[in-house]
Amino acid sequence: MKDFWRRYRRNKGAVVGLAVLLLVMLMAATAPLLFPGSPWDMASAPFMPPGEMGMLLGTDSLGRDVAAGIAHGARISLLVGAVSTAAALLVGVSLGAVAGYLGGFADDAVMRFTEFFQTIPSFVLAILLVAIFTPSIGSVVFAIAVVSWPPVARVVRAEFLSLRGREFVQAAEVLGKSRISIVLTDILPNALSPIVVLSSLMVATAILLESALSFLGLGDPNLMTWGFLIGSGRSVIRLAWWMSVFPGIAIFLTVLSLNLVGEGLSDALNPRLARQRSGAA
């Protein structure tokens, strides 16, 4: 573990990313303390510029505090990112493992199924799914999970394909271990590092997707999210720039930090690759 941290620390960007991400998480966790009450409450006069009347980041068209919206929105955005990624991982890893380990017909069937999803533009599919199931937090998470799992399945399949022929797997087979136990205890732990890296990037993509859906008015109308904040501020941007700029910065920082963390994880989990990269630089 110490070794891991040492390798992670070598990537300065990743450390900064982690710090920002922790800050965002801290903000999400303490939002009810920092901004008690609902972020929908009208706290002040509408269209107050940042800094006036005690409103740090200004107020929106109904006099709601933009800062409270961002803090409470962080909870929803992070939650959506985490839950939809977990769901996508569950589907992607299972299908990828089946395809990669069994090979043959099962592999063909699963991969054609995956390609079917990959050929549909993911954002359009997400919009369609949310529109059909009426916008709610559940349908948004479901839609993001449905469009995010195919890359996971492909990565996991590739890892499994290369690992299943290795000696330690053959040894396990000779020992008479069951297939399910070989997959879970021998192959999966060794395939974990690309999955971890991929999932940190998926959380970032999920946050962006959720924001894009909310921006288009397809978010849960009862939940304050960053995309909603930008979407509702977009039309009055010439009147109140702060309504869309600050949530935009929040999304930008969070997504960037997740990407940096993903890169740091990749370096730390694949020390040889990282060394090559720094050697070449």
Binding site: S38, W40, D41, M42, P46, S61, L62, G63, A131, T134, P135, G217, L218, P221, N222, S232, S235, V236, R238, L239
Partner: protein, 529 residues
């Protein structure tokens, strides 16, 4: 033909109104011939033939090509258009219209009483539900001579004249429609009317061009050479078009309310919210009375008192429109200004809910209601959020649901909602535009009927009395009584008398001269140099 004294009075009374309007509009500036008016049309209508399509954009552009017998002043007095004069018999059953002479359709055919009767009895009666319901009262329609139309009603119907505006009963050429399917006749694609502008070309998705009709029946008019209606789907682009002078006029929903304050500040632009008196839409929170506890008067009163209508009008709509005081808009006939809904009072609202037996739980919530947000644009989403917060203050949790326009109309029509937002045009008279939302006989599974399911025999009776009475005084008595009951029982929670900004270059004169605003012929509109 009987010309009664009262009828003569009505006919002569119409003339001064016309003069007044013309005087007022000219504002001392001599009209100038020539020039092109570029304006905006959103959304692009499927067809331009009034009757075949009666949606907003079709009425805006169609009213330049089509005219009817009358138009209406801002106080809803009739103004002669294709009818030079008219008489009404003392029993209120016989209407005789004398038509203007030398009126030609755009294809050169003269317009006669036959065209008028065809338009009333066949064309609009078949195509438009609103016209069908009222023209069904006509017992006989005869052309006593080519320029005289005599309509006899089965019973007196005092708001009858209000049906003779171009938006309700455009006069169409009989020779191009008779014997054909009105919806697919070739004239639908190339509209032919008697209006000052005739159809020139339509590049779908781009623009519609109308050109001056040289044989227009008013000598020397219209003043403009052509009108170009550009299709601009994005609201910010529309704002830029009027700001930069690429368009000289915007109307209806073209400009979002939040953009209006900035445009008001422009020295070369004129912003007006007049010209909607005939339509006078009132918006309300639509309550489904089948959902408990919305069947309880105290709960409905509490909801009504929990809402700050001034905030809605001033903050959400930026002063475009004003707080509703009762179910009849103040610009509609028979509005009783002395009858008002209870004022904004959060404490009284909470007390009413306590009295109704709805105690708040640990979170301060008394009960939860679903709210179907009206999917007509962002401002309605903001309204939903505002209502959610306001009602939460008195302990009612509102759970917002979003949907698309088609599903909204279907769900309202099928009574599959708890609360929502709705608004309808009032067409100048409560019998035409208010009654339909509150009477028992109109509880139908159809959008824009009494979908809430409110039923009160007393209200039914009063609306019926007002509908059938020939004397405006009797009608006022009944309408005042009904407004009083409705304000006490709050069947729907009225929010705002809506208005729409008409924004135009100050060089463009006479834009709004009647109670129909931009839905008039524009034969007197001109551009100063």
């Amino acid at each position: 033909m009987t010309v009664s004294r009262r009828g003569l009075l009505a006919a002569t009374a119409a003339m001064p109104v016309l003069m007044r309007v013309q005087d007022a509009v000219a504002q001392g500036i001599a009209p100038r011939r020539g020039g092109t008016l570029t304006t905006i049309l959103t959304p692009e209508p499927p067809v331009l033939q009034i009757g075949v399509n009666n949606q907003g954009p079709t009425l805006v552009i169609g009213s330049k090509m089509f005219q009817s017998l009358l138009s209406f002043s801002p106080t809803l007095e009739p103004i002669p258009v294709l009818a030079k004069s008219w008489t009404i018999s003392p029993d209120g059953r016989e209407y005789v219209f004398t038509l203007q002479e030398n009126v030609k359709f755009h294809d050169g055919h003269p317009m006669t009483a036959d065209d008028v009767i065809f338009s009333i009895m066949k064309f609009h009666t078949e195509l438009a539900p609103r016209a069908r319901a009222i023209f069904a009262l006509i017992e006989s329609a005869t052309a006593t001579d080519p320029l005289t139309v005599r309509l006899v009603l089965k019973q007196p119907f005092q708001p009858f004249l209000l049906m003779f505006d171009a938006s309700a009963c455009a006069i169409v050429p009989k020779h191009l429609f008779d014997g054909q399917d009105y919806r697919t006749a070739p004239a639908v694609q190339r509209p032919v009317g008697t209006g000052p502008f005739r159809f020139a070309e339509w590049q779908r998705g781009n623009y519609v061009r109308l050109e001056r009709f040289a044989d227009y029946w008013k000598p020397g008019q219209p003043y403009l050479d052509q009108i170009i209606y550009r299709v601009v789907p994005d609201s910010q682009s529309r704002r830029l078009a009027i700001e930069t002078g690429q368009a000289q006029l915007t109307q209806t929903n073209d400009i979002e309310p939040f953009d209006v304050p900035a445009l008001r500040a422009k020295p070369n632009l004129e912003v007006s919210v007049k010209g909607w008196e005939y339509f006078s839409p009132v918006s309300w929170i639509e309550l489904n009375h089948r959902v408990k506890p919305l069947d309880d008067i105290r709960v409905r009163q509490a909801i009504s008192m929990a809402i700050d209508r001034n905030f809605i009008a001033q903050r959400l709509w930026f002063g475009i429109g004003k707080p509703a005081t009762n179910p009849v808009a103040s610009t509609t006939r028979f509005h009783d200004a002395s009858i008002k809904v209870a004022p904004h009072d959060v404490k009284a609202a909470a007390a009413l809910l306590d009295a109704a037996g709805h105690r708040p739980n640990a979170q301060g919530v008394r009960f939860t209601l679903k709210h179907l947000v009206l999917p007509y644009g962002e401002i309605w989403s903001r309204l939903g959020e505002y209502l959610k917060q306001s009602l939460r203050q008195v302990g009612i949790a509102l759970e917002l649901e979003s949907t698309d326009a088609g599903s909204w109309a279907r769900r309202i029509g099928a009574w599959e909602y708890e609360t929502s937002i709705n608004f309808v045009y009032q067409f100048g008279d409560p019998t035409l535009g208010v009654e339909r939302t509150y009477v028992t006989s109109n509880i139908q599974k159809v959008t824009f009927t009494n979908t809430g399911g409110y039923s009160n025999p007393k209200v039914d009776e009063l609306f019926n009395t007002a509908r059938n009475a020939a004397d405006p005084k009797d009608r006022q008595t009944a309408f005042s009584a009904v407004q009083k009951i409705l304000c006490e029982e709050v069947p729907q929670v009225w929010l705002m008398e809506m208005a729409f900004p008409t924004i135009h270059d100050k060089k463009l004169c006479n834009v709004i001269t009647t109670g129909l605003g931009v839905h008039t012929s524009f034969d007197d509109v001109f551009l100063t140099a």
